[in-house]
Amino acid sequence: MLYLYNGALEVTAILKEWYEQEAGSNYGAYIPFVGTVRNEDGIEGLSFDIYEPILESWFKEWQERAKARGAVIKMAHSRGDVMLHESSYIAAVFSPKRRVALEFIDEFVEDFKASAPIWKYDLKGGKRIYALERSTAIKGSGILGEKS
């Protein structure tokens, strides 16, 4: 239930596919979060690198957290270039009742931003520039800089 695509996501098709996957599962709430590339700072688009082995283990932990709360989590993300007003990220939670879904999507998206091993680059003037200022050091970072 982790889907990686080259380039922009087909949002409508993904939202439909996920809705239909769970149509008979008796979940009362379905909350997708769709992230779309904004026009700012003169960028032409964004580009993404993903380190898949750790993304998969990170996502698996969240699947277990979802299961413990009677919920299901799904996620799609782009690899490579995604241009302005295209979408690069969808996360969605399904749960029997609304409170779990509303809380879970918030927790998931925030931890995704802080922890998922994905690197973002601005596409600007034909260059691919690492978006360091908008990036977050993963918890526990910096140990190799310590003097021993």
Partner: protein, 73 residues
């Protein structure tokens, strides 16, 4: 030999080192001036599991990855 990989935006080829723990890796990398900024903000994974201290032994065939600050979405 331990393989050390630099992920995402770090423009550095993988290293193959004869080291037995992460502290030895820290000493090696701290001598590389191009790495000094990255060492402050990179997370470290051993065989794709994140670790939170340098007190981790390494054996032949282990793989260490450096993960710079992330920004998915």
């Amino acid at each position: 030999m331990v393989r050390v990989e630099f992920l995402g935006p770090i423009q550095k080829a993988p290293l193959e080192l004869e080291i037995t723990n992460l502290s030895e890796l820290a000493i090696v990398l701290q001598k590389d001036s191009e790495m000094s900024e990255w060492l402050k903000n990179c997370a470290v994974a051993v065989n794709d599991t994140l670790v939170s201290s340098l007190y981790v032994d390494l054996k032949d065939g282990d793989r260490v990855s450096l993960l710079p600050p992330v920004c998915g979405g």
